[in-house]
Symmetry: C2
Subunit: 383 residues, 2 copies
Amino acid sequence: MRIMILGGDGYLGWPTAMHFAARGDDVTVIDNYLRRQIALQTDSEALIRTPNLQERADLFGASTNHRIEVVIGDCCDYDLMRRVVRDAQPEAIIHYAEQPSAPYSMRDYRSAALTLDNNLKATFNAAWAVIEEAPDAHIVKLGTMGEYGTPSIDIEEGWIEIEHKGRKDTFLYPRKAGSLYHTTKVLDTDLLYFYVRTYGLQVTDLMQGPVYGLRTPESDLDERLQPNFHYDDIFGTVVNRFLTQAVAGIPLTVYGRGGQTRGYLNLLDTLQCVDLAVRHPPGAGQLRILNQFTETFSVNDLAEKVRRVGNGMGLSVEIQTVDNPRAEAEEHYYNPAHSGLKDLGLQPHYLTDDVMADLLETVMRYKDQIQPRKVLPRVRWKR
Amino acid sequence: MRIMILGGDGYLGWPTAMHFAARGDDVTVIDNYLRRQIALQTDSEALIRTPNLQERADLFGASTNHRIEVVIGDCCDYDLMRRVVRDAQPEAIIHYAEQPSAPYSMRDYRSAALTLDNNLKATFNAAWAVIEEAPDAHIVKLGTMGEYGTPSIDIEEGWIEIEHKGRKDTFLYPRKAGSLYHTTKVLDTDLLYFYVRTYGLQVTDLMQGPVYGLRTPESDLDERLQPNFHYDDIFGTVVNRFLTQAVAGIPLTVYGRGGQTRGYLNLLDTLQCVDLAVRHPPGAGQLRILNQFTETFSVNDLAEKVRRVGNGMGLSVEIQTVDNPRAEAEEHYYNPAHSGLKDLGLQPHYLTDDVMADLLETVMRYKDQIQPRKVLPRVRWKR
């Protein structure tokens, strides 16, 4: 298939590009290095320095004989987007091209404005490039489970039937996100839904939980093909921060009471899910929403698991509660559906002790490069 | 009170400015003439040419001795917004500063992009100027009943309690708008709700239906203080188009089956509603949503009323069905709540035959200036 990946330099974008290229798909990636630029500006650079996107594509090509076409440019530039879509005629566009950090989006006016503008415009331009140049293309958009927030009712997969005063209708499941970044994903969904209804676009919106994992079959070919590993408070997930803290001998920083529960998944399962979505398009005029995670943990569960496995490996892992920099429920009901991707064929990889040990071992190889100042929160939600 | 009006040159903005100034409030208006510029570019200029905003403020000042402070500038320019809010320290900010045309938003990529960018950025900047410079200010945002679309269940005022699988929670009422313009208002609400939750803003979101009316007590002081009257397919409402067609002897153009039902209100009631909202702020950390209309009509009802009253005045009014340029339900359930503003004290002015006759008489004074080519649809939703 002809696949285009927006945000191909990212933690998910690059492994996704290799995944499809290795299967013989015709892959074009676009990226403007926004994440690298923000990481540089906020002293949040990844633990493992990765070559640039063209260099990674060249290394991958040399290892596998599979070519990844690289375009360096901004998805917010519509002339570029339109031209690239016209030339490549993608059957699927996988859209990761968003400012992905919740803390960055809560930092100040400027970073909030950049997040809103970049994320909405990239999504809007992707929709319009499809409308004008490739109307049959399937947009596979990475949303987030964070769009739903933590409601007191069960979270369904994107849609809910409401019975009200004796009548019924079906609506997008209501969303109430916990950061401006997550809110931009709510807006993206609203925007895509409008163009699905009006111009018959076909869209899959993948409501993904936090992803962990440092390797894929393709990244194992060459150390320089590894996914980005951010462990800082801006781009690092809680899993990455805990792994790094465990290795560096810093107590794991649990924000507040630690009952915050989310759906997690392995990077290998992100690749499976995106592949399943791409190979099973929903059809014209359809907005398909799938909840993309394999198991739920609270922050306390996760800290406990890192401590147990880490201590078993000879690390000395402690857990410390810190004042929560975010505005979020620290104890809450959480029961999200996630059967859609399993129905399509997803075979989950769970966060077993072996997987946790492998993650810790990988980080231990880079222990000398850990900068402890990066693992404590620098951005507070409340002003 | 210290009142700031964003979009003070508009059909609602200018009468609102005069209304508050006439009551002794301290009024600052901002406008960048975006609507005038789009009207010029799309051959959609108003029937009655109005002086520019500074000239109108000067005329009003000369008639009443009440001063309206005019700032010509773009609410998308945050440096300007922040400075104006810092200097004026408004207690209420009435936010009309949006590209208000649904057809314009559906015209092409460029007009859609302008609508999305302008409307979101103006709202975002208003929120941030309040956060940073006037945290106690009450934002009174003009939303639209069009955010809700035409669901099969009763439309509540902004919120709905959902009972699902034995549990309950309260959410924003689900929204499904019929144009990109209306969708930007959905996004505005989502964005403001996020900042209400996170930073404790106080916001009233007025979900307004189409407004008709060509005079207010203040505009009657001088013909040059009249509200803008757009009758074209870009900025004109269905009421204005029908009035103009009736006067010009063009059959009233009903789009499709004509069962499209909406909640309408008189311009006098918009002023009442906004005044009531401003004088009764909801309190910090509250997003209050009020449905702002006084009565519902279908397009067929409205056409029939214009025909009946027009023919009684000696006009020769015919009704013609035209192919619907929009994507919308032409027959649908519609039962929206609207008790909140009545509870605050709204005394409705209904669209009686006398009111209709007064509207027709006003338009008849400008009959020679009607350009018939402007009253037929130029923008189609379906591509």
